[in-house]
């Protein structure tokens, strides 16, 4: 097998940090110096470049495709359409298999792949693509998510009928509670389409192999699940497809679905040449799914003193043309639809629908983000109606250990929500506005104000997120750990299929191996499918699941080291451990170095780690113990708003998050910073603007993400109330702050302006002419 240039290799984890320390990331220095090899850097002599022809129309019939001229273009080696898909013509997540590898007779969203070209040069491939002639019958796009959910006369988008999923939740007697409520508040909320906006575009390399299979170097979140979809489409057995994770430039859910994997493999198998594909930024906006936009209607009733009696909720999530992760996103929106509040009577109806809008699927927060914006907005509304402050209303209704979620699931781990809110409230506030430096002001260096029209506001947000997969899914992970003496030093090699997507998993794999094996030297093997499934780098689950797998694999290796002790030392000890490079007996002290005990022995163990089982949601009542773990973040946002221009400066974001156990403090802080920034983006700027199913801003010129002048300094309070069921007691960290920062910021803008603001992102014109949206 020929290895491409810049393919991933074994990498030694720097430092000697154990669990709880903050050693450097193995990939950190390379990334900072610009030397890290991303999947777009892969190279192989003689390789061709693939390109994808995509639909300009959100909905149209393909009357005919003529590839002759493109095929005749000099330098072109292949032009493929759906007729050339060797196996199954469709793929999809969760066995939905509804997405065509290449469009068959019709397209259902703008950017849907239609044909592939392989050529000597990427420019040649693009020029040839322009020569593919398509005769279209353009149809009126189906873009009304509400009609898709409720109107039986609305045409169907695809064979799987609308709604993709309707998940009800029923608790108590809402009708009766409506009669008892002393205070009733209602809200209609909308969340725009957010994009993951990862910086490394979809890219990879497919290399045809001598056995008729293909070696795939790709940037993805879950190789084994990719493989389950790729193999049938290529008509190959899974063992003939060797997957290697290449440098991933961010993911945030946007790489859970396939992008160029099957396409590049098809071109490689057809041409017999390695084929590289790299999307540009424009194509990337069409090359992955986005966060579901949501339309939500909420009604809460409460007693006069603020105790919530009922919640009546409708959530519509627009998944676009294909299923992707919609089914599970709906499950999350339903089960977490009222958040971490004790509410005795609940009626939730969450719908996921098919339309010809941009396809939507997984994104950090996964259905819980949309609901959190609505339920937290409702808490503020209820506070105002009851004459209470935002923190008190949340404390009155807060869940705690032993509380039940809307699904009836009992929260078994510690959940000190009321205390977390108190902590957030009592953190020192930032100093008042200093208008002498423009960068402190709304508008920043653009100098829209010297302080005129600027008002300060404070807001709170609480989010609760399920960690690991839910609804009965056994998303186990696998780790292989090898311990041997290399160059006189005991060295652990950790091999998993888990995707390092920038979150720092490889760092903590090394920390766990050092902690469990007492060695300093750890080498991380590239992630590939020559080891068992690790599950997805999603749902904030890899520290829990792959961290757990590395831990149990290390424990198995450790046992084998202990088995060597009588062989080497001639007697047994009942109380062994591995610490500081030594085999230690609690009673007899240091016995020997690990190297001396190991000798020539190579110990290798592979273990799976499974979380405790969960159940599905009852299709009628939504009841079930559906989530593996729950994690919470509380935000306090302080904003300055230029109320005349509608510009916002987030002055400070304070976060209180319970992570169970800090495995790596720098990584934990980074996750909270990053998650908060992504939530800030949704609050005030990030939206894929769509008209008639067409994206109007597929570029970083007009899809804005926060800069360092938008993201304020953060004050963090990190709690460690252990979850007894999780490895080391840890909780997933990455997603909860993405939920709560958005509603906290919008609440602060409301506090500054007195406006309703029922839609995110909040745009300047929503503040200056509030009737407009």
């Amino acid at each position: 097998m020929t290895i491409p240039l810049r393919a991933p290799r074994d990498i030694a984890a720097p430092g000697t940090g154990r669990v709880g320390d903050s050693p450097l990331r193995p990939d950190g220095t390379l990334k900072v110096k610009g030397e890290f090899a991303y999947s777009s850097d892969l190279w192989m002599d003689g390789m061709l470049w693939g390109a994808t022809l995509r639909s300009p129309h959100p909905r149209a019939r393909i009357v005919s495709i003529d590839i002759a001229e493109a095929l005749a273009h000099p330098g072109v080696h292949a032009v493929l359409t759906h007729e050339d898909v060797p196996g199954r013509k469709h793929y999809g997540l969760d066995h939905t298999w509804d997405q065509p590898v290449l469009a068959i007779g019709e397209v259902r969203h703008q950017g849907e792949p239609i044909a592939l070209v392989a050529a000597d040069h990427p420019e040649t491939a693009r020029r040839a693509m322009d020569k593919i002639r398509i005769e279209w019958e353009v149809l009126e796009p189906l873009v009304d998510a509400r009609r898709a959910a409720f109107d039986p006369a609305y045409p169907q988008v695809q064979e799987r009928k609308n709604p993709a999923r309707h998940q009800p939740v029923r608790v108590g007697d809402v009708a009766r509670a409506k009669q008892e409520a002393e205070v009733v508040v209602t809200g209609v909320y909308e969340v725009g389409i957010q994009d993951q906006a990862f910086l490394g575009p979809e890219s990879g390399l497919a290399v045809p192999a001598e056995d008729g299979g293909v070696d795939l170097y790709v940037a993805t979140q879950w190789m084994h699940n990719d493989l389950k979809q790729i193999a049938p489409c290529l008509g190959l057995p899974e063992e003939k497809i060797r997957m290697t994770l290449s440098g991933v430039g961010g993911a945030f859910g946007g790489r859970e679905d396939l992008s160029m994997q099957i396409h590049a493999a098809m071109l490689a198998l057809r041409t017999g040449r390695p084929v590289k594909m790299v999307y540009n930024r424009h194509e990337s906006f069409f090359g992955h799914v986005h966060r579901h936009p949501a339309q939500m209607r909420y009604e809460y009733g409460a007693t006069r003193d603020g105790k919530i009696l009922y919640a009546d909720v409708e959530i519509i999530l627009d998944g676009g043309a294909y299923t992707s992760a919609t089914l599970n996103v709906v499950g999350n929106a339903a089960s977490l639809g009222v958040g971490p509040y004790e509410i005795p009577n609940i009626k939730i109806d969450a719908y996921g629908v098919y339309t010809n809008n941009p396809p939507c699927g997984a994104m950090r927060g996964f259905g819980a983000v949309q609901a959190c914006f609505a339920y937290e907005s409702m808490m503020d509304k209820l506070a105002a109606a009851c004459g209470l402050d935002p923190v008190t209303i949340r404390q009155i209704n807060a869940c705690k250990q032993g509380s039940k979620l809307a699904t009836g699931q009992v929260i078994e781990a510690p959940l000190p929500m009321a205390e977390m809110l108190q902590t957030a409230r009592e953190l020192p506030l930032p100093p008042p506005l200093d208008p002498t430096d423009l960068r402190n002001l709304p508008g920043g260096a653009s100098q829209t104000t010297h302080g005129e029209g600027v008002r300060r506001g404070i807001g709170y947000g609480v989010g609760i997120k399920n960690i690991c997969f839910s609804e009965g899914f056994d998303d186990y992970s696998t780790a292989r750990v090898r311990l041997e003496v290399i160059g006189g030093e005991a060295t652990a090699l950790v091999h998993t299929a888990a995707a390092e997507v920038g979150q720092g998993l490889v760092t903590i794999e090394a920390q766990i191996a050092r902690t469990e094996l007492g060695v300093d030297r750890v080498v991380i093997h590239p992630a590939d499918n020559r080891v068992g499934d690790a599950g997805s780098s999603s749902a904030s689950r890899q520290s829990y699941m792959t961290g757990g797998a590395v831990k149990v694999a290390c424990e198995a290796v450790r046992e084998r080291v202990f088995e060597l002790v009588p062989v080497r030392l001639g007697r047994t000890y009942p109380d062994l451990s591995l610490e500081g490079g030594k085999v230690v007996s609690a009673s007899a002290g240091v016995l020997a170095s690990i190297e001396d005990v190991l000798g020539e022995e190579v110990i290798e163990e592979t273990r799976e780690f499974h979380h405790h089982p969960t159940t599905g949601m009852d299709p009628v009542t939504g009841q079930g113990s559906t989530h593996t773990q729950l994690a919470m973040c509380v935000h306090r946002a302080v904003v300055d708003v230029d109320v005349e221009l509608g510009l916002v400066k987030v002055v400070e974001l304070a976060a209180v998050q319970d992570v169970g156990k800090v495995i790596n403090r720098v990584s934990v802080e980074g996750q909270i910073h990053g998650g908060s920034a992504q939530g800030l983006g949704l609050a005030v700027m990030e939206e894929i603007v769509v008209t008639g199913g067409k994206v109007r801003n597929p570029s970083f010129t007009d899809y804005l993400i926060p800069t360092v002048l938008d993201m304020p300094p953060m004050r963090l309070e990190i709690l460690e109330n252990a979850d007894p069921r999780a490895p080391y007691g840890l909780r997933g960290v990455g997603e909860p702050p993405t939920l709560s920062s958005t509603p906290a910021i919008v609440a602060a803008i409301r506090d500054a302006t007195g406006l309703d603001l029922n839609r995110v992102p909040v745009r300047p014109e929503h503040i200056t002419s509030p009737a407009a949206p």
Binding site: T448, G646, M685, D702, L704, P764, E765
Partner: protein, 286 residues
């Protein structure tokens, strides 16, 4: 695609005359983006990065003549005192990396209504020096330079040599609305320049019409109504912001609505005039 690399201004003019369809490229912060996005496929690029004359500025009879290739970072560092409005606008362009490469010349060449340099050039009454091999130099007033959406008065065989502007004789301000606090393309922008010696106020509006433009009625109103020896009359400010907003003819697009742009122009007109006037009175008192 041909890549032409003249090393002198004469060679550059000759290359442009011989191949008028060649796209001039300076810092590449705009041209390369358009090429990468396949918006333009010019048959040739004319790289001006090796033409030393373009990277210098000088004072000629008290007027600044700034080469088209002087990057924004140098406008900020070297000309911030003399051309404060333009320097403020330069500070809002992209990121530090973009400001190291991007130039006023490039901004003029693209003639985008959203270009940040245009409003301060208009408010200051700058002249654009353009030249062709065959017809020599033309001096075009900034307000005649922008003739349509991304269209300038430049002839196909002409290159932009420099812009000319007097050092600020009074306070100048530039203000730009974007939906992010840095690295943002203008939703709309406004520039003001007080010319106390002429008892005149110059204006410039960006991103709120097919071209960058002045607000002539607002300027005329101030020329007639401003009492240069007194604090600002709130009624004058109100009328000025109305006239400034009326000078705009914005559209709804993905960056903002026409209504919002008109509103924002009026707010920026009021604020920048107030800041400039306060500075003016303070300087006079000092």
């Amino acid at each position: 695609m041909d890549f032409l690399r003249p090393t002198t201004w004469e060679e550059a003019l000759a290359a442009k005359a011989d191949q008028p369809e060649a796209m001039p490229i300076q810092g590449g912060t705009d041209v390369m983006v358009e090429i990468n996005f396949d918006v333009h496929r010019p048959p040739a690029l004319l790289d001006l990065g090796r033409v030393p004359e373009l990277f210098t500025w000088e004072q000629v009879d008290g007027v600044y003549r700034v080469g088209a290739g002087v990057p924004y970072v140098r406008i900020i560092e070297e000309l911030g005192e003399a051309l404060p409005g333009l320097a403020q606008a330069a500070r809002t362009v992209g990121s530090p990396q973009i400001r190291n490469r991007g130039t006023v010349g490039g901004n003029l060449g693209a003639a985008s209504p959203a270009g940040d340099s245009h409003p301060p050039l208009l408010a200051a009454g700058a002249m654009i020096e353009v030249e062709s091999r065959d017809r020599g130099v033309r001096m075009i007033p900034a307000h005649e330079f922008y003739v349509g959406v991304k269209k300038s008065a430049l002839e196909p065989d002409e290159l932009i040599r420099a812009f000319w502007t007097k050092p600020a004789s009074g306070p100048q301000y530039f203000s730009k609305v974007g939906t992010r606090n840095a690295m943002v393309i203008a939703v709309c922008s406004f520039a003001i320049a007080l010319h106390p010696e002429e008892r005149r106020v110059g204006t410039g509006i960006g991103s709120a019409a097919p071209t960058p433009r002045r607000a002539p009625a607002a300027e005329e109103f101030l020329a007639a109504e401003l009492d240069w020896d007194a604090p600002l009359d709130p009624a004058v400010v109100r009328r000025f912001e109305e006239l400034a907003a009326q000078a705009a003819s914005p559209i709804d697009d993905v960056r903002g609505t026409a209504d919002y742009r008109r509103h924002a122009i009026s707010v920026m007109a009021r604020r920048t005039l107030t800041w400039a006037w306060n500075d003016y009175l303070r300087r006079r008192a000092a």
